[in-house]
């Protein structure tokens, strides 16, 4: 390690968004042939720093050096030309363009002769790149809109690889990928290292970081904390550096008894809808019912049908009194709340203030004679923001300016303020750091004790096992297994039922 030359260096980086200081004197050193992990809680400044390096944003001050030369990209295209490429956390493909167009977007010049684009050559090259990364199942002619989210991410990977970057920045991409997709990404990272190039890897999964990274740079609240060498990696130390306090190893439930309450609060019977094929289950009062399976198994449709968002082809969803739930308004009238997996698009109004997002479901109780009372509104939001420790400037701040974890807290605050008795949480800890994760799990336990029921849909098996009273595994839209907490189901057992 000591003999590796420094490929990239950032010094004294400052960046503010309004009054929020996202980066304060942050530094980063990346050596050649290494995977450098960038880790920290939500809002620690990882994505901001990565975006500055990738030319998406400009720093307020600070200096960057690439191979010893001053580096100051005006935009991401310039960063790409310099050999730095970033795969973003959010979806970054264009639905109405083909995979080939997406791979070479912004770099079509190489296929242009006398102003005319050679589409065939572009598709041939795209096929080569897709094959190179192990995604040959995607055709270069496929419209991205017709591909799955994961395949879209693989096309983004292909775009990055096609640039042949010296530095690849992977920002929280693995949460969107299945095991196969992750393996493809890891293989690319390995190839980059072997070729003398480097990777800046951002993930909230500490085990993944420990496994894949050579060094780890820890950020906290926009400050540089420390850089750890591989030999110093320890989950406990990393957590302490990230959060600034000790976090116990096991932040899941410690009890091993499942919910014994027989009172049914929600019943799904013989439902065929979306990807679901003849699904039946009951949710009991005070129960956390976990759903697991492969990304495409249909588990995300469970949340949608339970909230009335997805109409059933056959079968029905009923509340405790046997009344049908066929629309979100009906679900809300039975005190059901739903947080979709796709938080930014489906669970929040990111272009609106925190106040509006939290109050939107509760205007009935915040108004008098049809008029909304601002005092009551502010009190309501302040109380919930305090309860959930939402990091914000004030309730007028726009949700889009918040980190992923704080956005999730806003979505939760909306339903807690609404007084939901049944919460449907689809991938609630997706892209969330361990500090907030731990808070969220504690909140779920508290809600359970208060008699609230939770449907927990998650692609993280340890989370489903660790938090649920009962786990239902789906395979190809059907229930393939059901396990009670006291049976202590293991990950490998559940995987057997998933595949």
């Amino acid at each position: 390690m000591g003999q590796q030359k420094v490929l990239f260096e950032a010094k004294d980086m400052f960046k503010s968004f309004g009054v929020t200081k996202a980066l304060k004197e942050v530094k980063l050193e990346l050596k050649s042939s290494e995977v450098l992990g960038l880790i920290g809680e939500n809002g620690s400044g990882k994505s901001t720093l990565a975006s500055i390096i990738a030319g998406i944003w400009a720093a307020d001050s600070g200096s960057m050096f690439l191979e010893g030369q001053q580096y100051f990209p005006k935009n991401s295209m310039e960063a790409n030309y310099s050999g730095i490429c970033m795969i973003l956390q959010e979806k970054s493909t264009f639905d109405h363009l083909s995979a080939a167009n997406n791979i070479f977007i912004g770099a079509e010049k190489r296929f242009v002769k006398a102003g005319i684009l050679d589409g065939r050559r572009m598709k041939r090259e795209a096929a080569k790149v897709l094959q190179e990364i192990g995604a040959s199942h995607i055709s270069p002619s496929d419209m991205i809109g017709n591909l799955s989210f994961e395949d879209g991410k693989l096309v983004e990977l292909a775009r990055a690889v096609s640039i042949k970057p010296k530095i690849l920045i992977v920002d929280e991409t693995t949460t969107a990928l299945s095991r196969t997709g992750r393996d493809i990404l890891y293989l690319i990272m390995e190839k980059m290292k072997k070729g003398g190039n480097s990777v800046i890897f951002i993930s909230h999964d500490i085990d993944e970081m420990v496994d894949k990274c050579d060094r780890l740079t820890v950020l906290r609240d926009g400050n540089y904390v420390d850089t750890l060498e591989k030999k110093d990696f320890s989950t406990q130390v990393i957590r302490r550096l990230m959060v600034g306090r000790e976090i116990s190893d096991n932040y899941y439930r410690t009890d091993s008894e499942s919910c014994k309450n027989e009172e049914i609060v929600l019943q799904v019977k013989d439902v065929i809808a979306g990807k679901l094929d003849n699904i039946s289950f009951s949710l009991h009062k005070g129960e956390i019912l976990g759903f697991g399976g492969l990304a495409d198994c249909g588990m995300h449709d469970i949340g949608r049908i339970a909230f009335g968002l997805l109409s059933t082809d056959t079968g029905e969803v009923k509340d405790a009194k046997g009344k049908k739930i066929e629309a979100p308004a009906q679900a809300m009238s039975r005190k059901i709340g739903y947080i979709a997996k796709n938080r930014d698009q489906e669970a929040l109004m990111t272009n609106s203030p925190i106040l509006d997002n939290i109050c939107i479901a509760s205007y009935d109780k915040l108004s008098k004679n049809g008029c909304i009372l601002p005092g009551r509104e502010n009190k309501f939001v302040d109380y919930l923001a305090d309860q959930l420790e939402i990091k914000m400037q004030d309730s007028k701040q726009y949700v889009m300016e918040l980190s992923g974890g704080n956005k999730q807290k806003v979505a939760l605050a909306k339903w807690l303020g609404f007084g939901a008795d049944i919460l449907i949480l689809d991938c609630p800890t997706r892209g969330i750091d361990i500090g907030i994760k731990s808070n969220l799990y504690n909140l779920m336990i508290k809600l359970k004790k208060e008699g609230k029921s939770i449907i927990l849909i998650s692609e993280e098996l340890p989370e489903v096992i660790g938090m649920s009273d009962r786990v239902i595994i789906l395979k190809n839209g059907r229930i393939s297994g059901e396990f009670r907490r006291e049976a202590h189901p293991t990950e490998s057992l559940l995987i057997d039922y998933m595949v």
């Binding site: 639905d95 363009l97 977007i105 079509e108 056959t314």
Partner: protein
């Protein structure tokens, strides 16, 4: 047979079917009507080519009709002193100036294109009326309007379609326009200059307005200035051509052909209703209803598919 040709044949079944229906029910409507149907669809299809570029970038422009009429008037005036070159130059200059004005206003004032376009409509209509004088009418010489008459208009249509195809599928700009329409923020993230792309898209509509202007003034050898937002009516048929075309994109990814098929359908409907003796006002009602049906289907196609799927499952 090539799959694309099979798909084109499949799609042509729609206008062919409509044509056969009207042939059966409308007296005086038949194979002899085909040249009229095609001729009448040409201008709306050409405007549709330009409009589709903007619609692909998620922009909506109501000024293309006003710009076309103004360019035709300007070209007509120049043709009186410079002949055919004057007509072509005048149409091009008038249309490109309109596009430039709109692009600059959009770019620097950050006003939505739809709003800018309404402002341009008012300005251009008045300018057109001023240029034509008190008669509000301009005629060009018969030697000049031959350029846009049959069969030249068919050749112009084909060349416009080829240009549209090249812009869409054979140039970077087409790809970037689609990308900007898809997600502007993402474009910026990957280094595509969204503002520049939109500017170019608006300028390209100028080219199509110029072509449409030549065709418009040559269609009858004269042009009448329109005021009071009268030119807005010109844009509705091209909008429908594009919407119908977009609906069929899953079957064939070739926008110029799809817009042409859309234009044919609309032209058949109108000529069919005229043959049935439908008065002007009723024709407008039909246009309105047709627009609502097409837009309704376009916005709800997924729900309609789901409804049928559920119906079939229930059965």
């Amino acid at each position: 047979m090539d799959r694309n040709i099979i798909n084109i044949i499949k799609l042509l079944l729609l206008p062919v079917g409509m044509f056969l229906i009207f042939t059966l029910i409308a007296p005086g409507f038949g194979f002899h009507s085909i040249p009229v149907i095609i001729s009448q669809s040409i201008i709306q299809v050409v405007i549709g080519f330009g409009l589709s570029l903007l619609m692909n970038a998620e922009l909506m422009d109501f000024s293309m009709g006003a710009r076309t009429v103004f360019a035709a008037i300007f070209g007509g005036i120049l043709s009186q002193s410079m002949g055919m070159p004057g007509l072509i130059f005048g149409c091009l200059a008038g249309a490109m100036f309109g596009a430039l004005l709109m692009a600059v206003l959009y770019q620097y004032l950050k006003i939505p294109v739809m709003v800018v376009s309404l402002g341009i409509v008012m300005i251009y209509e008045v300018l057109g009326a001023k240029l034509t004088g008190s008669s509000g009418y301009l005629r060009i010489g018969s030697d000049i309007y031959q350029i846009g008459s049959y069969p030249n208009n068919i050749i112009i249509l084909i060349l416009s379609g080829v240009l549209c195809y090249i812009l869409y599928y054979k140039m970077r700009i087409g790809c970037h326009i689609t990308a900007v329409g898809n997600d502007e923020k993402m474009c910026r993230n990957i280094g595509v200059h969204a503002d520049r792309v939109k500017f170019i898209a608006i300028m390209l509509t100028g080219v199509y307005c110029a072509i449409a202007a030549v065709l418009t003034i040559c269609y009858s050898g004269a042009i009448t200035a329109s005021t009071g937002m009268g030119t807005l009516g010109i844009i509705f048929k091209p909008i429908m051509c594009v919407i119908i075309g977009r609906q069929m994109r899953k079957t064939l990814d070739n926008m110029p052909i799809l817009i042409f098929i859309g234009g044919l359908c609309i032209s058949i409907i109108f000529n069919g209703f005229i043959a049935l003796g439908l008065p002007d006002a009723l024709q407008d009602i039909v246009l309105g209803i047709f627009l609502i049906i097409v837009m309704g289907y376009s916005s709800n196609s997924k729900n309609i598919t789901n409804f049928y799927r559920r119906l079939m499952t229930a059965k």
